[in-house]
């Protein structure tokens, strides 16, 4: 059995103003309907003017995903009716997106385009009456839409892809991409390939909505895999035109729930947006943006692994280090000093990722001082350390299993945990030695 997962990802861009008007784009936690104007309210006569910065950000995203950049692109109207869409159409891109085919983390990107966000519906009870309210602060906020091919083969891979994508847009400085704040939204489309009696079957596609964390993306996909398998075994229904369904992730029930039975051949009556001239880009403009792209975290990570010979250092710790800008910059400024003082680079990383220090405020010199002190003999006795180490082994059974499979480098992660628990009082070399002994007998 093989699972096919394609992702549709929406990311709010961190521009000053909205996509087609001058209203402030940052809407999180703002008083409802305080950041609106005739344009984003869809008042009669109002016209859109495209935000150049948003287009530039979208191009940056596309370039970082290795996409083909279009010299000629245009906006289109996507017509549909919903109360949070005040114009009755969304300005989006249809047949000529800003960015075409690309690749990121071994997943093929189908397209990247730009569009406007909708308003937000709020359903609540006011004076005993159930009402639906609309907040238009979000209406017209620039949105990046990234669509992947169904190249992803596991829930874990989908989660990893999304985490790396989030890191990527944060590196670019174009979005904070916080899932919980709705700045990043992800809709996986999932189905299975099932081989049975020498024949190959495909289960109907299901698109999953309402997911607000990476963890839930993974859970929802895993759940969906089991559900589709059971369903297929029960009724044998295969994928065909018109039987795609939309499901929502219900975190309380820990399951996906059917939202729309037949994805009715949605007819958005797309046509070119007559209020906006097409986007024409010159080679020079594209090159200029490309050259100004900041180095990606992935590239930086590879460079640091090479420079400091960290091939055997636990990947887990490196992932933590590279998940936060502040940690990276503290490491980058401390590492050369550590080299001079003959302090092990691994110890620098351990100290940073175990959050023993305030990564924002601590100066590299202070870090070096702490590390030097640590090289002094242990200040706690052996039995205390042994106890802590046993506890660590019990708590990290997964890591222990990896160690036993021969991935010895993971021991550094456990050392880090011990150092963390002893608040840096233990001697890491001693701890490592005891750990090794205990692991052998565990």
């Amino acid at each position: 059995m093989t699972i096919f997962i394609g992702l549709e990802i929406h990311i709010e861009l961190k521009t000053e103003s909205k996509m087609f008007c001058r209203c402030q784009a940052n809407h999180f936690g703002k008083k409802p309907n305080t950041q609106t104007c005739p344009v984003c309210l869809g008042l009669p006569g109002a016209l859109p003017v495209a935000n150049r910065k948003a287009i530039e950000y979208a191009l940056m995203a596309g370039m970082s995903l290795d996409c083909q950049i279009a010299f000629f692109s245009k906006f289109d109207r996507k017509n549909y009716s919903y109360p949070d869409l005040p114009k009755g159409y969304q300005i989006s891109q249809y047949d000529l997106p800003l960015c075409g085919k690309g690749e990121f983390e071994k997943v093929i990107i189908r397209r990247v385009h730009i569009e406007e966000d909708t308003g937000k519906m709020i359903h609540k009870v006011v004076n005993g009456e159930r009402v639906s309210l609309i907040d238009f602060n979000r209406s017209g906020v620039p949105l990046l839409e990234i669509v992947t091919e169904p190249d992803i083969r596991s829930a874990k891979q989908a989660g990893d892809f999304l985490r790396k994508l989030r890191q990527n847009v944060r590196d670019l400085g174009i979005s904070d991409a916080d899932m919980e704040k709705g700045q990043m939204r992800c809709e996986p489309t999932v189905n299975l390939q099932i081989k049975k009696d020498g024949k190959t079957f495909y289960t109907p596609l299901a698109e999953i909505k309402n997911i607000n964390s990476f963890k839930f993306v993974e859970k929802a996909i895993d759940y969906e895999m089991q559900r589709q398998l059971k369903e297929f075994e029960k009724d044998g229904v295969e994928k065909k035109d018109g039987n795609k369904t939309t499901r929502g992730w219900d975190e309380k029930k820990q399951e996906t729930v059917l939202q729309r039975e037949k994805e009715e051949a949605a007819d958005y009556r797309y046509f070119p947006e007559p209020d906006l001239p097409p986007i024409r880009l010159s080679k020079q403009e594209i090159e200029k943006i490309k050259n100004a792209l900041p180095e990606s975290t992935q590239d930086k990570k590879q460079k640091i692994i090479k420079t400091y010979n960290l091939k055997d250092y636990p990947e887990k710790n490196l992932d933590i280090l590279f998940s936060q800008k502040e940690m990276i910059s503290l490491f980058e400024s401390t590492a050369p000093l550590a080299m001079k003082e003959s302090i092990k680079i691994e110890d620098v990383i351990n100290l940073i990722v175990n959050k023993r220090v305030n990564v924002v405020k601590t100066k590299p010199e202070e870090l070096i001082k702490t590390l030097k002190e640590k090289q002094q003999p242990s200040q706690i006795n052996q039995s205390e350390i042994s106890e802590i180490i046993i506890g660590t082994i019990v708590e990290n059974s997964e890591t222990v299993a990896e160690f036993k499979k021969g991935k010895e480098a993971v021991i550094e992660f456990l050392v880090g945990q011990v150092m963390n628990k002893t608040k840096g009082q233990a001697d890491p070399n001693q701890a490592r030695q005891i750990l090794r002994e205990k692991l052998k007998s565990a």
């Binding site: 009669p44 006569g45 017509n79 009556r269 797309y270 046509f271 209020d275």
Partner: protein, 467 residues
Amino acid sequence: MKKERLTIKDIILGLEKKSFSSVELTQFYLDQIDKKNPQINAFITVCKKEALLQAKTADKLLEKGIKKPLLGVPLAIKDIFLTKGIKTTAASKVLSDFIPVYDATVVAKLKEAGAIILGKTNMDAWAHGSSGENSDFGVTQNPWQKGFVPGGSSSGSAACVAADLAPAATGTDTGGSIRLPASFCNLVGLKPTYGRVSRYGIIAMSSSLDAIGHLTKTVYDSALLLNITAGKDKTDATTPKIDVPDYTQNLGKSIKGLKIGLPKQYFQDGLDKEVLLQTQKAIKVFQDLGANIVEIDLPHTKYALAVYYIIQPAEVSSNLARYDGIRYGLDRTYFGNEAKRRIMLGAFSLSSGYWDAYYLKAMQVRTLIKDDFENAFKKVDLILTPTSPTLPFKIGQKTKQPLQMYLSDIFTVTANLAGIPGLNLPSGFVNGLPTGIQLLGLQFSEDLLFQAGFQYEQKTNFYQKTK
């Protein structure tokens, strides 16, 4: 000094010489409206209080010697231009109580220039129509002959100027909505180049075709108003950064040697004999002025109306989607039949499975029509055609046959499809009913249209005729 039948030019001179004050003049027009509007129905809203207040302010500024191009000049505004604090309906019941929170760019520019808003003029609802009969607030009468339509959709704008209820009025032209009523009411009607005048704050009909212009008594007045309304607008992305010349500067120049083309497709079957005769007389005037007249070919003309009735309803169906009654206005049941017809036509032609055969094909033919004009303007400086294929028709004559009504725009839609400017000029009268010709030019050649129009006007002086 008498206040009847003044042009904007006369008014500016009169105010300067203190022949009358702005308040006196404004009161004169308000009295005229009181007297004649009940029969003509040119206005949906009359802004008595506001107008007099503005006039008072204008008089004070005039007293101080402050110069503004239209200081103290009263104007009428088509009820499709948003006016802050003044009800704006697009002549549809859907917006019968809609009071805008902002001014259209053109309205703001006219106010800034010192103009006074007398009121909001009647029109075909949402600018859908060629006669004014689609208004949800009653039909407008042609001041030249009771029982006849004034042309549409800028019906009230044309009628109020023709009846001397205002010296000039703004209009919008998506397929002929300024030029056709101008020709039916003996007025100068300008449809500028697409993008020459900002569309911001004007209720959109068909966004790729809408042109914002005005109806005046004379060519000079038309040029003067364009001086104020034209130009790049930061809030309308379709207005290019092209300089606005003084459009009055070339009016006096001779048009000797100017090449004027007559497209043979506009002089074939379906053209009323009397209208043809009127057009031939106008051609003779241009010949007398020294212009060279040549026949030209615009081979795709016969497809223009069909193309127009694909693209225009498609955009209409999208533009009217916002009027759902949730945030403002009344709900969709208040749309009239013509709006419903266009919403359905448009939604159909944009639907998947039909898009290729209708919308896409229409866009391709639109390009061919544009090319026709580009080729023609390699050979000639201007093109001359009749504005309407018929004389002004009777109220009710075409309301039962939408297709007959659509045919009224057969000579005017081409300019909208090609985005080029068009100017209607009065060409005389048949049985007391006005006729008109239109001049068409290259994009952004309004100054040449005005120059030729002014020379022609000097020879004909139809604007001085009274009923």
